[in-house]
Amino acid sequence: MVENLVEIFNLTKRFDDKVILDDISINVEKGENLIVFGRSGSGKSVLLKCIIGLITPDKGEISIMGKNVHNLKIKKLNNLRKNISFLFQSAALYDSMTVRENLEFPLIRNFNISHNVINEKIIKTLELVGLEDAIYKMPSELSGGMRKRIGLARSIITDPKLILYDEPTTGLDPITSKEISELILNLQKQLNMTSIVVTHDLICAEIIADRVIFLRDGKIAYQGALEELKTIQDPFLQNFFSNKLLNE
């Protein structure tokens, strides 16, 4: 029997009167890559932030590795978060730290490991993302693609069981975007991580996706395989995937 790493039951989140997520239930299996599609403002990023505990839902439960995220006290939540990583849309690198300091920050703070092991991990992770030369650079000296890669490196350096990606390829050129997507897939294969990827990028989804969900008006409009989603006779979905302007 396949084990669920993430279980979301009847999740509802409102901002003022606007319902962002409306009674959503999702399971993510261990080792699975789940893609979350949807229009801008459809609640994809809110879903990720609810999962990691940055936003408290109005209703529903989120369980990661059998632990209810929103019932945990801060210390236990932080312990759980040691197994989870989040790649922000902007990469959210710490501006005042070098690449090396950015990477060692979660290791020094959360894990009792020696300086030599930290060094090895940093070098190995930078090799994985192909940016060994950037180790002493400041984030301001990096291009958009490099920032994303370093963000990815910081996300995987702690060997998390679950990674949440918030639009990992947005703002990148098609080639870099494809490289990042392939990198995410390779990491998942090599390290057997579970991923939830919020994206608009169909190419990224084609490379990564094991399963896809489509959010529309706060609800799950579709859940299943990407190939099937593309063939559904729904004008909204067809417009979405053919990159036409939506006239709903």
């Binding site: 990691i52 801060i74 922000f88 902007s90 959210a92 920050f105 979660p106 959360n110």
Partner: protein, 265 residues
């Protein structure tokens, strides 16, 4: 029709300002409680505190150096003719020393410190908030309040008294030079008159209140920065409002502390 509309808008504006004021008071209170809850939890982040103290000290060193010297110099120049009218110029070192030690040194240093540091902290934490760096720290299992806020508040609380003592010293140097330009006075006589005029009761309330001023500067800067909303525009607002609030609080708290110190000493 226009007048009621204007009044209505003014009422709305007043209500919004009142709401903002109450929100700030509540926020600062919550931050204070959270600070004292987390300040004593291990790890103490001593290296971070030291780093901030170095940065803040270096940042404010040039401006407080000039200010300290000018306070003493100008105060002596302004007061000398008045005292000369009464033939009391001998009291000039003592008068400047008491003014600088009890009030001018601590308050002016704190106001300059607020302008330089509170805005800097507000802008730094504000940009970290809007670029999701604080969220990134949070999701990585690190307590951002402890790492970013507690360390900065401790650093400002510790560094301001040191800067104040430095400013007082420079003010006295400025005072001596101003006196020496007008009429010859020996260094020994100047030092003796200053030491004779300042009692323990003058020095302790003057310098000890700067711990509270330092705390206010750190608290307000961190609060405004940490709670920034509204992108880069919000960062700018956090930076400027933190200076305004910190300066106002320093003056209000100073008035209260002066009253208390007069009652005690």
């Amino acid at each position: 029709m226009k007048i009621p509309e204007v009044i209505f808008k003014q009422r709305l504006k007043f209500r919004e300002q009142f709401y903002n004021f109450m929100a700030t008071v509540t926020g600062l209170t919550i931050f204070t409680i959270e600070f004292f809850k987390q300040a004593f939890i291990l790890p103490l982040e001593a290296s971070e505190i030291k780093k901030h103290m170095d940065e803040l000290g270096v940042k404010t060193f040039p401006i407080v150096t000039i200010t300290g010297f000018i306070i003493g110099f100008v105060l002596a120049l302004q007061t000398q003719p008045i005292l000369a009218r009464f033939g009391a110029t001998d009291f000039l070192p003592a008068m400047v020393a008491i003014s600088v030690v009890r009030e001018l040194g601590p308050v002016i240093t704190a106001l300059i410190f607020a302008g330089r540091v509170s805005s800097g902290i507000g802008a730094e934490l504000g940009s970290m908030r809007v670029t999701e760096q604080i969220d990134a720290m949070d999701v990585s299992g690190v307590n951002p309040f402890k790492y970013l806020v507690v360390t900065r508040i401790i650093a400002t609380t510790m560094i301001l008294p040191l800067l104040t003592v430095y400013v007082i010293f420079l003010a006295m140097v400025g005072c001596f030079i101003a006196i020496a330009i007008a009429e010859p006075m020996s260094v020994q006589y100047f030092i003796d008159s200053v030491i004779e005029s300042i009692a323990f009761e003058d020095f302790i309330p003057g310098v000890s209140k700067t711990f509270i001023f330092g705390y206010i500067v750190g608290l307000v800067g961190c609060y405004k920065g940490y709670t920034t909303v509204g992108g880069t525009e919000g960062v700018g607002k956090s930076s400027t409002t933190s200076v305004v609030i910190a300066s106002m609080l320093i003056l209000i708290v100073d008035a209260i502390l002066v009253k208390i110190s007069v009652l005690i000493w």
